[in-house]
């Protein structure tokens, strides 16, 4: 799922400085599950903003809401009757949500409250790791199901690089496994190491013509 992380409060308060009535909008799907932008985080952020303004001695009136999925135009449009007295919107959704909100209510400034980081999964409670870079040309069939495009720091297609650390850790971060050592161990286990020995030609980095568009077959 999409993983995000709450922005530092200083960035948010700076953006909201000129505004008095703010709608803080969470999203109930991905960012809720990774504790970044769900209903709970809306409550905490709203409370923190009120406390911050209180400390500065100026007032802020905050409306709290959580849209089931902020990347759905209809769900965002449902907020329209509450937008009359809103000066600015603070969206805790991922980039897709913030931009949908900004597009639907294009007469109002919309600010992100989280940084969308990657597509990933929970490694353990409260910690998420990157698994997929949405490169549009999946190579997982050649690497025993370990993606070098994002899990190798350099995205090499014929790894590993010379900098692998002792114990098979990544050159730039001793806590992270070298993707190519993981690939080696996985393929060795399935004795399909010939896959790793096979030369991989330069990747088509334009498989997805950014910005991407996917047209499903006619429903």
């Amino acid at each position: 799922m999409i993983i995000a992380e709450r922005k530092p409060i200083a960035e948010i308060t700076r953006a909201l400085a000129p505004y008095k009535n703010v709608l803080v909008a969470g999203c109930g799907t991905c960012v809720a599950v990774c504790w970044a932008g769900g209903e709970k985080e809306v409550g905490v952020l709203a409370s923190q903003l009120r406390l911050a303004r209180g400390a500065e001695g100026s007032q802020i009136s905050i409306m709290e809401t959580t849209v089931e999925r902020q990347c759905e135009k209809e769900m965002v449009t449902d907020l329209k009757d509450r937008m009359a007295e809103v000066d600015a919107v603070l969206s805790l959704a991922c980039g897709a949500g913030v931009q949908t909100m900004a597009e639907i209510f294009d007469d109002k400034p919309v600010f992100p409250a989280v940084n969308t980081t990657f597509i990933g999964r929970p490694e353990r409670e409260g910690m998420w790791v990157e698994m997929c870079g949405a490169c549009g040309d999946c190579y997982l069939d050649r690497t025993g199901g370990v993606c070098p495009v994002v899990r190798c720091a350099k995205g090499l297609m014929n790894g590993p690089c010379g900098g692998t650390r002792k114990g098979g850790k990544c050159e730039i971060d001793p806590d992270k496994d070298c993707a190519w050592v993981l690939i080696y161990r996985r393929l060795e286990k399935q004795n399909r190491l010939d896959l790793m020995r096979e030369y991989c030609a330069p990747k088509n980095f334009r498989a997805v013509k950014r910005p991407g568009r996917v047209q499903a077959g006619k429903a």
Binding site: G155, G159, C161, K166, I172, M196, R197, Y199, F205
Partner: protein, 297 residues
Amino acid sequence: MAIPFRETLKTKDFVVTAEAAPGKGSNVAKTLEHIELLKDKVDALNVTDNQSSVMRYPSVGVCLLIKEQGGEPVLQITCRDRNRLAIQADLLFAYSRGISNVLCLTGDSVDVGDHKEAKQVFDLDSVQLIHLVHTLNSGKDMAGNELDGAIDFCIGTSASPSSDPLEPQLIKVEKKLRAGVSFIQTQAVYDLDELKRFTEFVRKMDENVKILGGIVPVIGVKMASYMNENVPGIFIPQNLIDELAEAPKGTGVSKGIEIAARMIRQIRDEKVCDGVHVMFIGREDRVPDILEAAGLL
């Protein structure tokens, strides 16, 4: 004019190369000094390409200086800073100016350098780069278009014989050998058995590739632990660190040179591999002392 490296590799039984480090500005005086000092003492002079992701005077620039001084340069190219268009263009330019040796490297990550927020390219990796040079050598570019004027590079690459785990590295070396390289300059090695096993491994697949053992003198315990910790692909064993610890204060550099020379002599006498590639980052002026101590001058 220096002998082309391609010939040296065929004729000489013990090949010695060193490194000329580009400076951090447009003033090339220091670089010229190093070139002058080393060009006749070694068979070829490698020029690093933004080594450790630290922005420096371009590699092809120093290669031209070496050519002008009558030395034999080896152009190092990493895949971090340029995409496939830029790399092909640089190769054409370098060859047209008489540079005919290239070392294909993946390159360090920007995280270890001084521009940590830069966008890394890595459009290619070292194996794909080797294939690319072959393609250009055959008179075509990567998209299959005919070149007006082909090129003919002597291709080399690097390897890490003391990686742990080693097998994934060896698979990569296999790919490089199948792609076709004339010489391999390894990362810094301190355990000659590992280097010997590595050489035997390579020889089994390709007898005429020349392997030059990477020699990086270590001048102190602090530097040793720093390198073990931060410099990618470096593993200095404990016995070496202990030996350094015994060296009295202030004699670290000469101790480092002494150890390096001893290793070079051992490699030569026991024919561990086909030569050495001496790297003394920041102290290029002391490389002649190493060569002399190793009896290579």
